[in-house]
Amino acid sequence: MRENDPSSKNKVGEIKEDEVKKIMKVKIETRGVVLKTDGEYILEKEGEKGLKQLEAELKRLGHPIKYREIETMAFYPAGLRALSLLAIKKTFNFDDEKIQEMGVVATKKSLIIKLFIRYFLSVQKVFFEEAPRIWQKHWTKGILTPLKLNEEKKYAILKLENFDLHPLYCSVYLPGYFSGILQMLIKTNKITAQETKCSFRGDEYHEYLLKWL
């Protein structure tokens, strides 16, 4: 089993120093909003005490984050985004379902998504025109490309290239995030999103299959 194998997602153990160093070496930057939505989620679910616990864990890892001081539109090291998720999972013993829910909730509170709402005219437009732009607004690296959209058969495939941050993010959090956006486009109670290809599993890129009923 590789170090970053997604199958490790069910294990909540100590975050190793080597792993932290490796994550923090990733040369990508992200908008503060992704960290901000993490902090807001924890504050709501675990309260002030929970938020302090989380900040203490990050401090212990050597990369303290003051969530309230994060600037929504500023750029931060992408490693912090991955560390934030790992610390949350470890501190609160969150399972994958909970991490995925964080992704869904983030879309509903994200300022960047709010800025894009004015372009949410149709599923087609959002997929083929706005999705790549939304990615670019968040990250300094990686290309999000829509591969297929079949509204009749109710599925879509997205491709994410050149983006290797952490499996917890790409395999668990991100499918939730895509689901959240899709909820704002399609009137349905049932949306599923899963990563069908992953660069951490030896694939060339990440691929996501989104389905709805």
Partner: protein
Amino acid sequence: MAVRETKKEKISILLEDLASLESYARDLFGFFPNPVLLVSSSGIILEANPAFEKITGHKTEEIVGRPIEDFFEKEKMATLVEKSLSKGHIGGEEINLFDKNKNALPVSVSTMLRKNESGEVVGFFLGLFDLTNSKKAEENLRNAQAALTNILEDAEEARARAEEEKNKTRAIILNFTDGILVFNEKNRLALINPSAERLLNIKAKNIMNGSISELNNFSGLEPLTKALGTKFEEIFRKEISIKNDLILELSTVPVMVNKDKRLGTLVILHDVSRDKIIERMKSEFVSLAAHQLRTPLSAIKWTMKMLMEGDLGPISKEQREFIEKTYHSNERMIGLINDLLDLTRIEEGRYLYKPALSNFELMVEYVVNSYKEEAAKKKIKLEFKKTEGKLPSVRLDAEKIKLAIQNLIDNAVKYTPSGGLVTISLNYDKDKVELSVQDNGVGIPEDQQKRVFSKFFRGANVMRLDTEGSGLGLFITKNIIEAHGGKIWFESAKDRGSTFHFTLPVKTEFESFLKEF
């Protein structure tokens, strides 16, 4: 290099401005007290402000991404969405919003389209105004209005009923055969019915609103005004003579509200002229018949007496017994005739007593002694209990008082069986003397006690005993005692006996004594 630094600085400034703008937008959105939603053109909620979260009880993540119809009456909201998209806006449409607990909250909806820079419709803003309080106020107002309407209807109904009652009462009063006059709280005449007009020979229009003193000026009304007085004290069946052959029975009743507020006085005039004429004719007939009967009965009495005393020659023992029985029967008939004559005198108002200061005790003793022989014959013990001190002299008509005492003792002896006891007691205080006649005889049944002092009353139990009596004794006795200003009463229990009492006033004041003469 300097250029790059400048660009970085510019970007930094822009980011700061953006953060400020975000903070401002967030604060403004959060502050806004009315619920606001941003809805996509496909009807999905893209944004909700805290006021919407508060009113529904849902969190943002439970709201954003859900169809707008999930929170409202589906069909009505679908129409409103369609209307908003086609017209560009709607305003003040009422709809029910459902909160997390499925409670319906009345809200007013306004919408406004949102377009992007290309002019394409990206959705619409939807603002809500919570109508719960205004609906409640409206409902309260409606309830109050309904209650007020009910009250008004009730009041109108009550007024109509009161009016109807008033008309009925008025009709009754106007058509009443008795004369009715109503005086208001200021003792002025407020109503007079046609019967009263006829009886008093006066027109209502001439005397309406008149006071007693003003009514006194009208001829023929004087007996009425004199009887009423200025204070309108209660009167019960007082006879007044308006003119020859017109005798009215006058009664007054205070018209009260809540027992303590006097609204006026009701005066009732009942024409008893015909009754009086019949009564007088009856009395005259009885008087005439009694007088006519008494003369031959007296002749029979003296003839019997002469026979018994042998003035008309010797008679055998057997003849004497027959004559004695006839004599006693004749005596009873004379007694009955005398009672009837007393009755007619009482009814004609001719039973006036002739008072004189008398020794009441001696008078009682005299009557008691006259019954000793009869009591002894019946083996009844007759006791006379005098007072320890000396009784004061009492002004009385000796003949009538003797008759009253005689009637009471006679009844006691008559209705007490052999071996019984009759006790006559005297008592007095500074105001009155009292006589009590107690027996342990048959008593008076409770259901008949109210009629004891009525004319011709005889108890059902004594009638079965085959005793003699006219039923006039107690009526005459009561009239005698009351004519002296005294009182008479009794206690009785069937088969246990009766006690009759009467009192006579003792007048000590010389002036009051003189007034009587």
